[in-house]
């Protein structure tokens, strides 16, 4: 960041991106071998902005992109390496609040939780009862 004009050592790459890529390779091996899933918390690593950009370029983009709106924006995309997903959550002021690479068939954040399915089933029944009573009778025989 350059809010003050003082050099902040964020312009240069440090080699961290290549290290993370190697870690992802090991995690993908494990996922392929026995289904072991895992995650790398990018915020906990001393990545410069240049490292982050380099890693994003190295990982590339795959077939799936999802945008979520839940208390701030979140973006999830499968990287060019199937099974390796980039999950970026944003919080206050659209700033990144957490960011991780997760190696799994599908990230948990995309899977609908059973409690939400149950709540949705209740809501849709209420909607039908309140606004479409004849349909409710037909539905329930």
């Amino acid at each position: 960041m350059h809010s003050t004009g003082a050099p902040c050592q964020t312009e240069n790459t440090t080699g961290m991106a290549r290290s993370i890529l190697a870690e992802v390779a090991r995690m993908l091996d494990a996922l392929a071998a026995d289904g072991t899933t895992g995650s790398i918390d990018l915020r906990s690593l001393p990545l410069t902005e240049a490292d982050r950009q380099q890693l994003e370029e190295m990982m590339g983009r795959g077939e799936v992109v999802a945008e979520l709106e839940l208390a701030g924006r979140s973006s999830v995309w499968e990287t060019a390496y199937a099974g390796a997903w980039w999950v970026r959550h944003r919080g206050a002021g659209d700033k990144i609040s957490s960011e991780e690479i997760t190696v799994c068939p599908i990230p948990n954040i995309l899977v609908t939780h059973p409690a939400d399915i149950k709540a949705a089933a209740l809501r849709i029944k209420q909607e039908i009862l309140e606004n479409h009573p004849s349909q409710a009778e037909a539905t329930h025989g």
Partner: protein, 370 residues
Amino acid sequence: MADNKPQNNKANQTLGEMLTERGVSRRSFLKFASYTASIMALPATAATAIADGLAKARRQSVIWLSFQECTGCTESITRASAPSIEDLIFDFISLDYHHTLQNASGHAAEAAREQAMEENAGDYLVVVDGSIPLANDGYSTIAGISNRQMFEETVANAKAIIAVGSCATFGGIPGANPNPTGAVAVSGLTDKPVINISGCPPIPEAMTGTIAYLLSFADIPELDHLGRPKAFFGEAIHDRCYRRPFYEKGMFAKSFDDEGARQGWCLYEVGCKGPVTYNACATLKWNGGVSFPIQSGHGCLGCSEPGFWDMGGFYKPLSTPTGDALKYAAGAAVAGAAIGAASAISVRSKRDKVMKAAAAAATTPAEETE
């Protein structure tokens, strides 16, 4: 808030049930959990456990007591921002008493505190900001009740106590020399475990992260020797400072307007206390991760350490002997490439002894120290 307490039939609702009714999905829990795991340096895979723990937890009653303080800690935790994932913590707690934030005032406010204590006996959290004066009970009162009396009666049936800010944790500015009010830290007035979240003010994420951890795991996070969560206070500012490479190379700003300052060199020689200050400013930063004092060109004041106000001067290098408070640093030369980290370790080691003594003094009731 005090005037918005859940009805009895909702009292046993879990957070998951309560928020589902309000249309908050479990994905939001998971997002909050990912954020919490990240700021607390937990494995990313812990997010699922945190989300499950939060969903099963009950809304936590919190009584927030403010004594000799400036309200900066409250400003920090409620920092103005758009509704976001970080604000979810306020859905997880029922802030039953906070005399700055609550709608009720006067007798109604105190009644809310008493009601929360009665209804949640043994299960409420007490958060305290501000130190407690022992020299004279009349120095600081709320509704005619002395700080000491209010603290003692409120924590009697509390589940846990969180001291936020350097005043509540170590005496802070009210406790600075000559400490006219006999200010002490809250840990000196109770035998119950106290989680200290120091700082002037503390980083908001350190407060919300600790509360989220307590709710998720029903346990206290790992603490350092001063009772602070290691997740936030486990490393010195200096250790994670982006200017540290300049320190290692012996490249120091000599004044705030010289070429070194303009080039972003190390601020050690203009008084930075980063080498002896344990906090997460260099990693979590402030204002949603925008910056922190050193990034803005000013040295660290050491505000999360015991006795920071009496550390001998904000603009004097740690290596400068400045009377009693800095005797410990007198032997450490101004660091350069040759001495580098060794100097910091030396200063830190000596500083730890002094800090421990200062912490012990700050947490001992005044009458015992006289």
